[in-house]
Amino acid sequence: MKDDSTNQGKHPTPLLDELEGGKWPSFVTGLKRLRDQGTESNQAIMNDLLGQLEHSYEERLGFWKGGAISVFGYGGGIIPRFSEVADKYPASKEFHTLRVMPPAGFHYTTDLLRKMADIWEEHGSGLIAFHGQSGDIMFQGCSSESVQPAFDALNELGFDLGGAGPALRTAMSCVGHARCEQSCYDEVRAHRTMINAFLDEMHRPSLPYKFKFKFSGCANDCVNAIHRADFAVIGTWRDEIKIDQEKVKEHIATVGRKYMIDTVVSMCPTRAISLHDDDTIEIDNQSCVRCMHCINVMTKALSPGDDKGVSILIGGKRSLKVGDLMGTMIIPFMKLESDEDFEKLEEFGETVIEFFADNALEHERIGETIDRIGLPAFLEAVGVDPDPNMVNHPRTSSYVRTDDFDIEAEKWFARKARESQMSAE
């Protein structure tokens, strides 16, 4: 260590200091503010945390290990961190994180932010991340003995722990209905309905592995649900896209006809848009796949239809262990407006979680389970009929037994007849 005496026991951080330049807000400057101006406890923790982080920058290795820490009544939600170099950096030897679920849609009053800051200044290190990739507020840097009082204070404020380990995880929902005209369902209600119905699975981890819900109001999927969620709820509509032809003309008058053709007509993935000679457009709604592109470009002229609802895709996850999987379309459309609709969503969620709990192997995500047993077996287990929207194309392999094909075909025709009768009523 260099020059400690002139720096009042502060660990030198020459490598981290280099991250204080540049125009982007510097987390290092923030850590140093806590070290230099924080409460006595924050100062001590942050000095040693900066010391350990500098040590990581020198050695190019991490020095935290996990463990088991929980609060009364919960089996998860705390990410324990114990330093492996605590002899050198004792004040940050326990640096646990509380994962706390934010208000759905990430809305805060400044008053709430201040209260959270006050709690974390008192019980933790003074360092909070808005937000982790899980969608949690990450209250970082808490000693083992402070975890319970920190949780109690946050819980008094109306906040609850999120998920960790083999459990239902914290969900995310986009800004949606609160500030977006493209939103096709009440994301706040869906998010809170689903997670709050299954809190036991979040707080007492007992699933085979993690299970994530995410809620995006449209196919732009701003919370990355299809890639990242076991259960992705994506807003859509099934009637016609709404066109304001005068606004279409205004758009073309502004950007030019060539630009309109290049960026809208040609970019429609199903070639569903025609441009008329009078600068109005026609959309073949049966070919449209509700991808959102033309609506994104022409925000004033085009908007989703009125018969809105959601699609549900199951099984998204990253590499471990079989490789990347995106969610697969399981429910192409369901309405999500009435109390009854939300009850149906909750029931389906419960069916899928129960299937997962009963059938997944240890450390297997539901997408991997579906891969292992095949989509037909999964559909049968959760009571969903096969639908062409579930596939890019029907199977190409002939290695399948089709002796009951006629029975299955009868089911399809019976279902179609039922559906057309329902829509006639």
């Binding site: 280099e18 991250l19 330049g21 125009k23 982007w24 923030g30 850590l31 503010r33 806590l34 924080g38 982080l53 920058y57 050695e59 190019r60 991490g62 009364f72 009544g73 640096f95 679920m101 208000p103 759905a104 849609g105 809305h107 805060y108 400044t110 709430l112 932010l113 959270m116 200044e121 360092l127 808005f130 937000h131 990739q133 609850d160 969900a171 800004v175 209905h177 609160a178 005209e181 706040v188 998010h191 809170r192 997670i195 709050n196 809190l199 196919a219 999927d221 990355n224 299809i226 290049d262 960026t263 993935p269 991808c291 959102m292 592109h293 994104n296 925000t299 990253r318 262990k321 450390h363």
Partner: protein, 360 residues
Amino acid sequence: MNQQADTPRMPDEVGVPDPFPYMHPTLKANYGNWAWHDRPRPGVLHHVSKSGDEVWTVRAGTQRQMDVFTIRKLADIGDEYADGYVRFTTRSNIEYMVTDESKVAPLIEKLESEGFPVGGTGASVSMISHTQGWLHCDIPGTDASGVVKSLMDVVYEEFVQEKMPNRVRITTSCCQINCGGQGDIAVNVQYTKPPRINHDLVANVCERPAVVARCPVAAIRPAMVNGKPSLEVDEKKCVACGACYPPCPPMQINGKEETRIAIWVGGKHSNARSKPTFHKLAVANLPNNPPHWPEVAAVVRKIVKTYKKDAKHWERMGEWIERIGWNRFFEKTGLAFTKHHLDTWTGARKTMNMSAHVHF
């Protein structure tokens, strides 16, 4: 133990908090009733409700890992300039909402003067979604916040303006689990060597059957080493993914030189135009070089510049590459195409060109 400790406080399992008490009143009043939006300038969204109400949102970048002083400063700005309400985006940008257009300019000026760049909207490079790294993770190959700070300094100008062909979503991940997620550009740790095993610790620390089961290529088997029950790795099979390290820390996958960085391109979450895609390998084996990761930054800068110059409006990174072809991508970015770009994992056949279509 004192009496208080004997009777712990019962938790109130409130679950996901109701956001309406914390939501800007104009957002609350127009919940589900918005009509359209536009972007009057980079960093500002303007939403108009069917009721005629209007709201301007000013978006600014933060360091995500925030000290309480930064949080209070952001709160002060919210009180003085923006009605006392904020929200965060999924990429850790903060948003202030105002209902009076004249409040937009002073708010922007204040945010910028306090060092919070206004931008991240539309066809910009938004904040990098990232992980915890050396600051807090128990298995990190590199840092997260530091890599992000370095890269955001490099692409700063593209955050504060909207001059890219379409939005650019960059992610970083400090191990191959890839918690940072898919991105137009993904900067991810890529291990290069099998784990180094501390055989003295395995029996006490690791649940050995679980570790054996965790390996995606079945390269781990139980073994007695120096008379102790341990695990051994078939290094010819091992793909150095690091999957054994979290359940068994004595199987150290990281090394000062062995932990490298790979850059991936063309991931896309949105369904707009093309279906969502995974990112694909652009380059591997870049050094893990704190505090500025200059080799990584140079590649990211090159890819961003090439995409900016070459892609058509509204083409995302992956869509641009699909149009121009991978040979042109590697040519224009000056990166090498190697045997390691040929996928060998399950489903690899579907990544091959099984046609006569060739880009010259």
